[in-house]
Amino acid sequence: MKRSGVVWSWFWMILGILYFFLPLVATFLFSLRAKLGILSFLAYQQLFTDDDFIKGFSFSVLWGVLTIIVGILIFVPTAYWVRLRLPQFRTAVEFITLLPFVVPAIVFVFGLVRTFSHPPFLIVDSPALLVAGYTVLSMPYMYRAIDTGLRAIDVRTLTEAAQSLGADWATILFRIILPNIRVAILSGAFLSFAIVMGEYILAQYLAKPAFAPFLAFLIQQKAYEPAAATVVSFALTWACMGIINLFGRGRGQAPIAGGH
């Protein structure tokens, strides 16, 4: 590489770093300005004692955990079964897991509301629909993470060994396969968690308490608390990604997702 090339590289990197950090720094500074004239953590105090924040945040955590559990229960057996017995369904299953990329979230929730708000499926008010919707949104990431995990272990040998020792299917799945792919599952799980925590559309239109709709509401009402909430949200995203990186050190690439 020539000298000028390196200079340009630095130039682009610095521009990227500025673009990445400026909004975050600004948000942080903004969040400290709640008291006139001095910097303080007042906005955070007010945020953390706000009942709606606690409610939205804890519900989002609950939805996130439920989504992960439902995702594991549905996708682990599926991915396992496809790998072991039904490779001819592989393309079909992969196609379905990628469908959430093709159907934008706003269109997806449109379909959900229209389908489930009249008989025979009158469950639009049920939290189950929200969790099901989140499971669909996180499906591309969760399924791929699980499938990658399964590829790394010898599914057939493990299954045959367990069978010859007299294990039934539930034992094989949950005591043999699951522990062996736990790292892969965890990275998928944290990614799903990050998606659910930041997700706005589903919670908003299914009228469920959650973090992102609360934040959107707060932006209309106040100036400094939403800044504090944004910082909290960013820290959460960062933590999830950090944990995934920690698990996946040295293999795989950075996770790609987003609920924009």
Binding site: M13, Y19, I74, I96, G133, Y200, Q253, I256
Partner: protein
């Protein structure tokens, strides 16, 4: 299998109601193309598609070029190796940091009361006196870029890794200039990946809703925003038209994803 039942129940069936609904008359439920005719005749809705497509084109081009330059700088630009891993981590975070919090981060930065606006004012330059507006098309494009370029970096990085050093050396030994190397070797090899990823970015911003909604309060005429309004209360006054609008969005996304897949396959010929 529970998976197929689940997928059918919560993904395929709801999506297909949209497809079916868009070919049905709102009141009589008879098969019709009328909804699409209405859609094409409504300048407001066509305008919404046009603005959605325009913002997606601009941010996928801009984000794509910037992301590519960043990724190339970090991987082949002669920077210390830790820059590369930090860039990847940052991009992983940034591409996931979107929606409402992202909108607010830019409000804190660049709204009339924002931090950067304050700094610029202190230096005697008020961007709002020079035609800048955060809550408009260009402001929204700037915000979208925040999740566009990191995605470009993440997806294009393996392709840049696949550029072999031998090719550069061979080109140099044959007396090629830096421009000739790019024009005849690197660029043709990378082109399918670059185009494919840009198409992916296009879809990424075309389907975006939360960021735009939170930033502009729904004041910008994007397809996703119109669908959101339609869902909140039948603003179009015609359910069938709403379905047609949504189906149109799925069609655009399907074209984008297909284009991405095809181009990705192309690029695998060289990069493995």
């Amino acid at each position: 299998m529970p998976f197929f039942l689940f997928a059918f129940m919560f993904l395929i069936y709801p999506s297909s109601t949209i497809a079916v609904g868009s070919f049905q008359d709102t009141n009589t439920h008879v098969f019709t193309f009328q909804n699409f005719v209405h859609l094409l005749r409504d300048p407001n809705l066509i305008g919404a598609y046009w603005i959605s497509i325009k913002i997606s084109l601009i941010t996928s081009l801009g984000g794509g070029i910037f992301g590519f330059l960043l990724a190339y700088s970090a991987i082949r630009g002669g920077l210390p190796p830790f820059m590369r891993s930090s860039l990847m981590t940052f991009c992983g975070v940034a591409s996931n940091f979107a929606g409402v919090p992202l909108a607010f981060a830019f409000i804190a930065l660049l709204s009339p009361a924002g931090v950067l606006t304050g700094w610029l004012k202190a230096m005697g330059y008020n961007p709002y006196f020079h035609g800048f507006q955060l809550y408009t098309f260009w402001g929204l494009s700037l915000v979208y870029m925040y999740f566009q370029f990191p995605l470009m970096v993440l997806v294009i990085a393996p392709a840049i890794d696949g550029l072999r050093r031998e090719w550069l050396e061979a080109a140099e030994n044959l007396g090629a200039s830096s421009f000739q190397y790019w024009r005849y070797v690197a660029f043709p090899i990378l082109l399918p990946s670059i185009l494919g990823t840009m198409i992916l970015l296009f879809g990424n911003s075309f389907g975006a809703f939360a960021t735009a909604q939170a930033l502009t309060g729904g004041q910008i005429n994007l397809v996703s925003i119109v669908i959101g309004d339609q869902l909140r209360g039948d603003v179009l006054g015609d359910a069938g038209l709403g379905y047609a609008l949504a189906l149109g969005m799925v069609v655009v996304m399907a074209i984008a994803i297909t284009g991405y897949t095809v181009l990705q396959r192309q690029s695998e010929r060289w990069l493995r």
